[in-house]
């Protein structure tokens, strides 16, 4: 599974934080510890009147890309529970192609 990573489409991350709780459910992390956190660039307005407001889910040191869950043939918990379907799991090579196709995206290797 060398090179496994998460693809994040931050254009559509709605900031719901389902990933945070889903991750905690999967790993039984205690309060105050996280496998993933949603960061926010708070809203501000551009001169053309449009708005910039982004959320980015960022895995922590505790993220193991749900190795157990993935070994059972399932998706990582944050991927499965994401309401906006903005997190995808795959090999680095697969995900590079996705980034090439879609602006406002990134790849994170925890």
């Amino acid at each position: 599974m060398k090179g496994d990573a998460l693809f994040i489409d931050y254009e559509y991350c709605s900031g719901c934080k389902s990933c945070e709780i889903a991750c905690r459910n999967e790993h039984d992390f205690k309060r105050g510890q996280w496998g993933i956190r949603v960061l926010e660039d708070k809203p501000w307005q551009l001169d053309d009147g449009s708005w910039n407001w982004n959320y980015i889910p960022l895995p922590s040191k505790l993220c193991d890309l749900c190795a157990d869950k993935v070994s059972r043939g399932e998706e990582p918990s944050c991927v499965m529970h994401c309401q906006a379907k903005v997190i995808e799991f795959g090999s680095y090579d697969e995900l590079i192609a996705k980034v090439a196709d879609k602006p406002k995206t990134m790849i994170i290797r925890p």
């Binding site: 709605s14 389902s18 709780i21 998706e75 994401c82 906006a84």
Partner: protein
């Protein structure tokens, strides 16, 4: 034959129960797919269900925190009673279900004998399964005509559904998100809406009425563009092609101006108008009065933007309307609903792929789209002469011919004046004295505090039960019982599916079981036929040809999507083509409204509390210079629910008041400061969230705040009135038909609250 849905999977060390959610814990009937992992009789893990055609494995934070809700140390697990003189004091005594039922039966029978069935009011909150069952508790268990949703002007969903019923009959127009196709967006013939006009609605957080909110993002990925109409720039609006950031409460002016532009420039669908609409000439004459230049002044938005948006919506077929709570919470909201439905109709976007679908009821007898009062007669429990004494029914016929409820403002007023006395109150998932829905909830508390007898049915203690109940019945969550869920309460149901019991917690029972138990006490001639919850579901709720076991094995049952039902005789019981109205057409000129004392055509009315309302006392305008709008949702609570769930509360620990940096600076308020929000009706405290996303001169307050961690005893009642914004929102400011309130547009002043610790 579809593959059997594996609702129960036995593994070596655990069992997985797959189910479909409907609150409690609070939510609309969304029916999200869950997998509940059960070990030794306890839920050990909650996961989404990737096989669910709508939610596809996703869950929101509220369902993901289900385990915390179910096993919370404050959960009430047994029936309790309290001496009547101890109301408001945390002095409860655990009792058996039998004793609880004995007390309720004895009191209800005595009160009915002395004062009549109508002296009992069954209060229901919003969203929960109780929405289906609280009117039945009134009509079929106690024989009372008074089921009460205590929001001023019944201002949630009911107005939209009722105006739809009056103008076209039945159903509820909803964004076509391909929800009836097992293959969803890949289905041949389905198309993504070109535009969604998202009007006074931000559907991501609450999945309103059962519409899976994040499907809007699916649609955007497939090319749908958004036009948002909202006083706030919410996150979704930052992804919109444009946002009409209008002055709160002026929506009807904007809608009329869009219609003006579309009619004057002949951008409407002439074929649809000729064949299916009634009263177009009069309608065109009326909207002529409302040009975009006029609305631009009223709404404080650019005229060219109104023209642009109207043109796009009318000419880009098909496009959909997501109409939200802001339509209901407005005394001019009936006209807004009328204008928006007319907009959908004349642009040819009604019941079209990529437009708005219209529902047809798909469930059995307990489908709320059917007449629940009739079930009360059929059961031999509700008497016609008692039904005739339903509070406010004759005064508000436009309301009461569709809504099977008592009228909330009329009811409160009748109690306050002494014209009516409530002798028994049954709080059936209703936190009326401090929650989300009641305007001036302290007035409801005052009106109900001397009621002879009161019952509360809830999973947790809340301010209402603490203030008023004599008996507390512990309510099961959806993980603890078998049941049925369909989105939109059946009015436009994408599917129906089973709620499958996974665990038993304490002695908690579900709404149906409690209803059967009390029904057998009150009216055994009818209720003795039901042996169990599953038996009730089979006889009255799920499809007639199925056992409950068949039903749960069928998984998510999606009815066929049929567009243009008006062409196919599917909107009328007589099978004729057309709409279910007197004229058989979509009524741009309502034949029904004049009978309710209402104008048959839409018009604009300035909000009762606005800086520009000429009838409002100038002293009020001067004293309260800010426009107050309220009630936007968060991901972590359903109205007043979930406040005690730690991982959710950690995300939004305090109630927030959005205010623009300009206003904050003028008032010497910094982000995070506690502030006092006041007007002539009341006051409360929230924390300032200084943000440019709200217009200068406008503040937005979160709703339904109380503090489960604070003193339960009266007068605190868990801090019921410290931060509840509804204390500033009055009853009685409703439209002629009886709908609307000022939750989205009122006035206030804000100051830094020096007394509060930060």
């Amino acid at each position: 034959m579809a593959q059997e849905f594996e609702w129960k999977t036995e593994l070596d060390d655990e069992t997985i129960i797959r189910t479909h959610a409907w609150s409690p814990p609070g939510c609309h009937p969304v029916g999200c797919g869950l997998q509940l992992h059960v070990k030794d009789g306890k839920i050990v893990k909650v996961e989404g269900d990737p096989t669910h055609p709508i939610t596809r494995g996703a869950l929101c934070p509220r369902c993901l925190a289900l385990k915390e809700f179910i096993y919370h140390p404050d959960r009430i697990l047994h029936p309790m009673k309290r001496a009547r003189e101890d109301r408001g004091l945390n002095k409860w005594e655990q009792i058996t279900w039998d004793e609880a039922y004995d007390i309720i039966e004895e009191n209800a029978k005595r009160i009915i004998a002395e004062y009549g069935e109508e002296s009992i009011i069954v209060f229901g909150g919003t969203g929960r399964q109780a929405n289906t069952y609280y009117p039945l508790m009134a009509f079929m268990v106690f024989g009372s005509p008074n089921a009460c949703y205590a929001q001023s002007g019944w201002s949630c969903y009911g107005p939209r559904a009722t105006i739809t019923a009056h103008l076209m009959g039945g159903g509820y127009p909803e964004i076509d998100n391909a929800c009836r196709y097992p293959d969803r967006y890949d289905h041949p013939g389905w198309e993504a809406p070109k535009y969604i006009l998202m009007w006074g609605k931000e559907p991501l957080k609450s999945n309103p009425d059962g519409f899976w909110g994040h499907s809007v993002i699916d649609l955007m990925r497939r090319g749908t563009k958004l036009i948002c109409v909202d006083p706030r720039i919410h996150w979704l609006a930052t992804r919109a092609e444009q946002v009409i950031q209008l002055r709160p409460g002026t929506d009807t002016a904007l809608a009329l101006a869009m219609l003006n532009h579309i009619v004057e420039n002949k951008l409407y669908d002439k074929d649809f108008v000729d064949r299916w609409c009634y009263g177009f000439d009069e309608f065109a004459e009326r909207v002529k009065q409302y040009p975009p230049s006029w609305a631009a002044q009223i709404c404080q938005v650019p005229e060219e933007q109104i023209i642009d948006v109207a043109t796009k919506f009318a000419t880009c077929k098909h496009s959909a309307l997501g109409w939200g709570l802001a339509v209901d919470q407005n005394p001019n909201g009936v006209q807004l609903a009328q204008a928006l439905l007319s907009l959908l109709a004349i642009t040819g976007n009604l019941d079209e792929p990529g437009g708005c679908t219209l529902g047809t009821p798909i469930a059995g007898d307990d489908d709320p789209a059917r007449d629940m009062a009739r079930w009360g007669y059929e059961a031999g429990v509700l008497k016609p002469d008692v039904w005739a004494r339903r509070l406010g029914a004759s005064e508000y016929p436009g309301f009461s011919t569709i809504m099977n409820q008592c009228h909330p403002d009329f009811t409160l007023n009748a109690m306050q004046t002494g014209e009516y006395t409530c002798h028994m109150a049954y709080f059936h998932s209703s936190n009326v004295v401090s929650g989300a829905i009641a305007a001036q909830p302290d007035k409801w508390y005052e009106a109900l505090k001397d009621v002879d007898f009161a019952v509360a049915q809830e999973p947790f203690m809340n301010p209402t039960a603490m203030a008023l109940a004599d008996v507390f019945l512990p309510l099961a969550t959806f993980a603890e019982h078998n049941g049925h869920v369909q989105p939109h309460y059946g009015l436009n149901a994408a599917f129906e599916a089973a709620i499958n019991k996974a665990v038993t917690v304490g002695e908690c029972k579900c709404d149906i079981e409690i209803m059967i138990d009390l029904g057998k006490r009150m009216h055994p001639h009818f209720w003795s036929q039901f042996e169990s919850v599953e038996d009730y579901l089979e006889k009255r709720v799920i499809p007639k040809d199925m056992t409950f076991d068949d039903f749960r094995k069928a998984g998510v049952i999606q009815p066929e999507e049929v567009y243009r039902k008006y062409e196919k005789g599917m909107l009328r019981p007589d099978g004729q083509v057309g709409f279910l109205t007197r004229t058989g057409r979509f009524e741009l000129w309502s034949t029904a409204f004049p009978e309710f004392g209402e104008d048959p055509l839409p018009y604009y009315m300035e909000p009762p509390f606005s800086p520009y309302n000429e009838d409002l006392d100038p002293a009020i305008k001067e004293e309260y210079p800010l426009i107050l709008t309220t009630g936007a949702r968060t991901y972590v609570s359903f109205h007043s629910e979930h406040r005690q769930i730690q991982s959710l509360r950690d995300m939004v620990p305090d109630p927030l008041l959005d205010m623009n940096p300009e206003d904050a600076e003028k008032l010497g308020i910094k982000d995070g400061d506690w502030v006092l929000i006041e007007n002539q009706f009341g006051k409360c405290r929230q924390r300032a969230n200084v943000t440019p996303t709200i217009l200068p001169g406008v503040v937005h307050a979160m709703h339904a705040w109380w503090y489960p961690e604070k003193d339960p005893n009266a007068p605190s009642l868990f801090g019921a009135y410290e931060s509840n914004i509804n204390t500033l929102l009055p009853n009685g400011y409703i439209g002629k038909i009886g709908f609307g309130d000022t939750f989205k547009a009122n006035l206030c002043k804000v100051s830094k609250d020096e007394k509060m610790e930060v």
